[in-house]
């Protein structure tokens, strides 16, 4: 026969177990208060852990993208600046040409101006940023163009000299250039000389740049060309305009040949300026897209961060309330245990 409905073991075991459980919960709640995040994210979220892992991946990816877009923007800005400088130089040069037409000292002056403009153009084309040449296409580690006036004579200058000599049987510095007729000059400029600036000859004699532009991923699915290169038709035209004035014996030409030369140069430079604007416009569009992508992604990053927070974070007020509730519970459990252990018939025997 058994007359009681509880055993001593059951009394003490129940308080002991609840104390152990409370302590376990307290440890977790304390950690949550201190870190503001769930004590064991995986355990609390379960299958939703996949979501936070994905979100964190996404977060990192977009951050990286924003970072790399900064690089792209920087390159585009430098390229735009260089292009603008080139356009300005070309426009100045057209003005110079018009002035030279109506001045006696024009030919010599304009030749010097053309030489400077050509050097300036080549210099701009060799602009580098962050160890990479901006106008080299994907050949970013090779200087796109060589200096026209350097010693020894580069292939570009040599090819012009060779073409001139083949056409007229004299060198450019020969005083006999005065005998070249305007028609001959015009023919030379339109055919042989123009041929020196077509894509193939340009690549062979002038440029080490690649036709292929650098492509960048500016957002997850947007892959765009984010550079231009020294092989663009506009650049070639401008180079040919500068070269014809600078290096076809301009100072010794007779009046009519000089006019033919200057007119052709002005026409070429004018065309080049127009095409450069188109190029600038294209790059500007890309710039616009990069900045839009950047903006969108900053918003995305914020949303993702708040989403991660939503999943992993705990309400600090709630957590600290929980800690104090647990503390109270634990204290009363301790008190109860002590009281229960004092309570024994042994004390009254």
């Amino acid at each position: 026969m058994k007359t009681t409905f509880i055993s001593t073991q059951a009394i003490s075991e129940s308080t002991r177990l609840s104390i152990a459980k409370l302590q376990l919960k307290l440890a977790g709640a304390q950690k949550e208060v201190v870190t503001g995040r769930l004590a064991d994210v995986g355990l609390s979220l379960g299958y939703k852990t996949g979501e936070t892992v994905s979100l964190r991946q996404e977060y990192e990816r977009i951050r990286t993208m924003i970072d790399t877009n900064g690089v792209v923007e920087n390159r585009l800005e430098l390229t735009q600046a260089a292009l603008q400088a080139i356009v300005n130089a070309a426009q100045d040069f057209v003005g110079d040409l018009l002035a030279a037409r109506s001045s006696d000292s024009g030919p010599a002056l304009v030749k010097r101006q053309a030489e400077m403009a050509l050097s300036g153009l080549l210099d701009k084309l060799n602009t580098a940023s962050n160890d990479a040449y901006l106008f080299a296409g994907i050949n970013t580690d090779v200087r796109p163009v060589t200096d026209y006036f350097q010693v020894p004579t580069p292939a570009s200058r040599q090819s012009v000299a060779d073409a001139f000599f083949t056409q007229f049987g004299i060198t450019q510095s020969d005083p006999a250039v005065v005998n070249i007729t305007a028609a001959n000059m015009q023919t030379f400029l339109d055919t042989t000389f123009a041929g020196l600036f077509d894509a193939a000859a340009w690549a062979a004699n002038w440029s080490s740049a690649s036709d292929q532009n650098v492509r960048s991923r500016i957002s997850t699915f947007e892959l765009v060309e984010t550079s231009t290169n020294a092989n663009e038709a506009a650049i070639r035209k401008l180079a040919s305009a500068f070269t014809m004035v600078a290096d076809l014996g301009t100072e010794n030409l007779n009046q009519s040949a000089f006019y033919a030369l200057v007119d052709t140069a002005a026409q070429r430079a004018g065309e080049a300026v127009q095409e450069l604007s188109v190029l600038q416009g294209t790059l500007g569009t890309v710039q616009e897209r990069v900045s839009i992508a950047k903006e969108t992604m900053s918003v995305q990053v914020d949303i993702i961060a708040s989403h991660i927070n939503l999943l992993e974070a705990v309400d600090p007020a709630e957590a600290s309330t929980r800690v104090s509730t647990l503390l109270t519970q634990l204290e009363s459990a301790y008190a109860l245990t002590a009281r229960l252990h004092q309570l024994s018939v042994l004390n009254y025997l």
């Binding site: 026969m1 058994k2 007359t3 009681t4 409905f5 509880i6 055993s7 001593t8 073991q9 059951a10 075991e13 177990l17 995040r37 994210v41 995986g42 355990l43 609390s44 979220l45 379960g46 299958y47 939703k48 852990t49 996949g50 979501e51 936070t52 892992v53 994905s54 964190r56 991946q57 990192e60 990816r61 990286t64 970072d67 790399t68 690089v71 792209v72 962050n130 160890d131 990479a132 080299a136 296409g137 994907i138 050949n139 970013t140 580690d141 690649s210 292929q212 650098v214 492509r215 960048s216 991923r217 997850t220 699915f221 892959l223 550079s227 992993e312 024994s344 018939v345 042994l346 025997l349």
Partner: protein, 488 residues
């Protein structure tokens, strides 16, 4: 009634009180002993008026005890699973630490994006290759962890089987004593308690079902009905496997010649053994498959194609390679243990004297695979192709138990989700089972345990009875004394 008879009755009263006191002190001694039941001394009156201790019985409740056994088995199975999943969790840890394979896959993609934004930059190439190396190492070490978990589970199974055999031998000794004692009418209550304890210990390892035959003889079956003990203990056998690789298949546990683990018709449903076997042959294997599929996905993403004008060569492994390289593993089919052997191609790894720029240019597999034929430093097509592949869904083996069509990052995240969900449900199950166990133990203890206060008051009562009997004896003695004094 005579004075002598009175003396005799008083003497039997003393003897019975002494016996009852012994039972009370046994109860008091066992007050802190879980599963010790309260013993009761049954007293009968003999024909001549004396009393005698007829038997000692105990308070028992078979239904509550059966509950306790079932709860013990179930909670032990879940605890074994939970412990193993916690170890597997080391491979993921807090998502904030970005230590999981999924996070490292993301980091590799980011490093490649950085590289693509500055393809001429050697530092970026190195950093991309380092990210790849970290990922390969993480996969290798995750595989080691998973296989360690399996080997540990196997060793635990061996220990569990050894313990089970020892417990069954002990059970046989105790059961024989109980059968003998029951037939002899001896006090077998302590043996019954001991048998209950042994049975509770057995139920930790394997779920049991019992029937009690004549003479308190107990027959023990597994919860699937395989004989564990019937007159004699049956042997539990298991051949441990010491070293686990991803392709190792562990041995089943046999009881009485019947496999009780795996998918047989007599497989057990609860107990630590179930948990351990499920870890070894199920959870860990699935997780390993997921890691292997991540590894296979990586090899696919970085695989290179023949770039000749007329492609003739098959695709070959790129940045990531494996012992079966340069062939690319067959698509959509898991290669067991791939995550353990995935490595960086030596020709790319700067630590092995390789050139990280091959990541941009291709040609890791050989000259026919060079993408950047012009050697342009700003060549990004290959890198962009790799980034595209990171973003496009690919087919994974359905046996990995997660969405078979996903991006590699998504697959990694789903793998983490799978593991954490398994942990969460195991934790919930452990909590539920443990609570059930506590409740069962409490209910059983309430019903059959010793209450110190009750025993103490019983002791008071016995003390009084003993005093009264002693008083009786001294009174009769005085009476006889006065009679003797009357003799002159």
């Amino acid at each position: 009634m005579t004075l002598s008879a009175g003396l005799e009755v008083a003497r039997s009263g003393l003897a019975v009180t002494a016996g009852q006191t012994a039972v009370v002190s046994r109860n008091v001694a066992n007050v802190g002993n879980p599963l010790a039941s309260r013993k009761i001394a049954n007293v009968v009156t003999s024909p001549s008026g004396g009393v005698a201790l007829a038997s000692i019985t105990r308070v028992t409740n078979q239904a509550l005890f059966d509950n306790l056994l079932a709860a013990t088995s179930a909670s032990n199975a879940q605890q074994a699973i939970m412990a193993a999943l916690d170890r597997l969790d080391q491979t993921i840890n807090d998502p904030e630490l970005d230590a999981s394979p999924a996070a490292l896959v993301g980091k590799l993609a980011d490093a490649i994006q950085q590289y693509a934004s500055g393809p001429h930059d050697g530092t970026r190439a190195q950093s991309a290759v380092m990210a790849a190396s970290r990922l390969a190492q993480a996969l290798n070490s995750a595989t080691r962890t998973v296989q360690d978990v399996r080997a540990q589970a196997d060793a635990d199974i061996a220990n569990s089987v050894e313990r089970l055999n020892a417990l069954l031998a002990q059970f046989e000794t105790i059961n024989t004593e109980i059968v003998k004692g029951t037939r002899a009418g001896a006090d077998i209550t302590d043996y019954l308690d001991a048998r209950d304890r042994t049975l509770a210990a057995i139920s930790e390892e394997v779920g049991v079902r019992t029937i009690t035959r004549a003479d308190n003889d107990m027959v023990v079956f597994t919860d699937s009905g395989v004989t564990l003990f019937e007159t004699r203990a049956r042997t539990v056998t298991f051949a441990p496997t010491l070293i686990y690789s991803a392709t190792t298949v562990g041995n089943p546990v046999y009881v009485d010649g019947v496999p009780i683990t795996g998918s047989g018709s007599m497989a057990i449903g609860t107990g630590r053994l179930t948990g351990l076997v499920s870890v070894r042959d199920d959870a860990a294997v699935t997780y390993q498959r997921q890691l292997d599929e991540i590894a296979r996905g990586l090899i696919e993403i970085f695989a290179e194609s023949d770039q000749s004008a007329v492609p003739a060569l098959p695709d070959a492994t790129g940045l990531f390679t494996w012992p079966g390289g340069p062939a690319v593993p067959p698509a959509g089919v898991v290669v067991d243990g791939l995550a353990g052997v995935i490595a960086l191609a030596a020709s790319v790894d700067p630590l092995q004297g390789g050139n990280p720029a091959l990541l941009r240019d291709g040609g890791i597999a050989g000259p026919a695979y060079v993408y950047n034929t012009t050697g342009a430093a700003g060549f990004v097509d290959r890198l962009q192709e790799i980034l595209d592949r990171f973003a496009e869904p690919r087919a994974f083996d359905p046996s990995s138990n997660i969405d078979p069509l996903a991006t590699i990052g998504g697959f990694g995240a789903a793998s983490a989700a799978w593991l954490q969900e398994a942990r969460r449900s195991a934790a919930a199950e452990v909590e539920y089972r443990t609570t059930l166990l506590e409740r069962s133990a409490e209910a059983l203890s309430k019903e059959t345990g010793v209450n110190l206060d009750e025993e103490m008051t019983r002791l008071l009562e016995l003390e009084r009875a003993y005093q009264a009997s002693s008083k009786l004896i001294s009174t009769i003695d005085t009476m006889l004394g006065s009679l003797i004094a009357a003799i002159r």
